[in-house]
Amino acid sequence: MVLKLYGFPISTCTRTVAATCKELNIPYEFINVDLAGGEHKTAEFTAVHPFGQIPYIDEDGFKLFESRAISRYLAKKYAGNGPKLIPTDPKEEAIFEQGVSIESFNFYPSAIGYAKEKVFKPMFGLTTNEERAAEHLETLNAKLDAYDVLLGKQKYIGGNEYTLADIFHLAYALAVVEAGQGGLFESRPNVARWWEEISNRKAWVDVIEKGV
């Protein structure tokens, strides 16, 4: 039975899993979850995903949620299918994990926080909290200064090879660009070099242009 990916076409987390699948040539069936109709909050859905979020996968009855956990599981299972998205040498793996953690705690919160205020809230007719948006922007600037130092010493966020640590940045970095702050990446030479490369990976471009 082919892997089933339950999500939403423009959801950041769904796109993250789709990008992982495409990098590793993993066939999957995308099943749309009707967010507008509240499908993710129904008893049937929360029986599988108690947090009522997307995405989740169903692999022949084995169900898993949390996009980063899903991506890790698939990257390990299909390790031979494409680029090595999780290193196996202990120290390289540790540096990879460092990169994954950097994304979760030093990028994601302010990136998504800013995008939420400036893009998602207006999309749903809600008012931007400009003070909070400004705080997120200030944090993001400080974090990206550290990114520029890090990316001056190593090619990618998780070491010298492209890994899941970079994939995990894609959808949230795109949200920052869509919120009009692409200059944050472009103005920092090492960050600019890294962003230019990862945002042009074929698998990611396919997700954006052809859909999940």
């Binding site: 929360t46 108690p50 947090f51 009522g52 084995f62 898993l64 949620f65 949390e66 996009s67 980063r68 956990a69 890790r72 599981y73 390990k76 299972k77 202990p90 120290k91 793996e93 540790a94 540096i95 994990e97 460092q98 994954v100 953690s101 950097i102 979760s104 705690f105 030093n106 919160p109 974090k143 550290a146 130092v149 890090l150």
Partner: protein
């Protein structure tokens, strides 16, 4: 050379690393970085940790920062000693353990750390609590813990029926949440309360609380 942990005794991230060292019987030396004096923002420190945060480790010259990668690295390096099963190797068990770690990182940590910041760290720095933000964070944490209550009614721990590092990762910030008078988040939910007691009554966690003081 013994493992060196550069951190702060009350830092939640530092405490997670010490917790895992104790579970796995890994000897370590905890070197205190003076956060109050801004030592973590000085070039001598940021040379090793570009984000200027605590902790980082020096394992015989191998430098690593971010507490969760540090504990993963230590768990894999010292797999055969101490508490077993904290990071399973069977693919599906590992996936569920990863799911638990991700739940902690995305659903627990941001909300709990936000609540603690509003109730404790901000006042400590002379800033006023943002009541609207605090209310929002509490509401979100309540929703998340309602989901925990469902999960923990079906299995003993967040990743399955055995304890994994994803459960342990809750101890530092969860304990801080109790310290600022918000323990009801745990006590008001029977399954969560049972799980919380199990995680925090572990001898290794008791040892962390006793040892990691100034």
């Amino acid at each position: 050379m013994v493992l060196k942990i550069y951190g702060f005794p009350f830092s939640t991230a530092t405490r997670l690393v010490v917790f895992v060292c104790k579970e796995k019987q890994i000897p370590y030396e905890l070197i205190t970085i003076d956060l109050f004096k801004g030592e973590h923002k000085q070039p001598a420190y940021t040379k090793f940790h570009p984000f200027g945060q605590v902790p980082y480790i020096d394992d015989d010259g191998f430098i690593l920062f971010e507490s969760r990668p540090i504990v993963r690295y230590l768990l894999k390096k010292h797999a055969s000693q101490g508490t077993q099963g904290l990071l399973p190797t069977d693919p599906q068990a590992e996936a569920r353990a990863e799911q638990a770690l991700s739940i902690e990182a995305s659903s627990f940590d941001p909300n709990v750390s936000g609540i603690v910041a509003e109730l404790y760290f901000k006042p400590q720095r002379g800033l006023s609590t943002d009541e609207a933000n605090l209310a929002r964070l509490k509401e979100t944490l309540n929703e998340k813990l309602d989901a925990y209550e469902v999960i923990l009614g079906k299995q003993k721990f967040l990743g399955g029926d055995s304890i994994t590092v994803g459960d342990l990762a809750h101890a530092p910030y969860g304990t801080l949440l109790e310290t600022v008078g918000q323990g009801e988040f745990f006590t008001s939910r029977p399954n969560v309360a049972r799980w919380w007691k199990e995680v925090t009554s572990r001898p290794a966690w008791e040892a962390v609380k006793a040892e990691c003081v100034l």
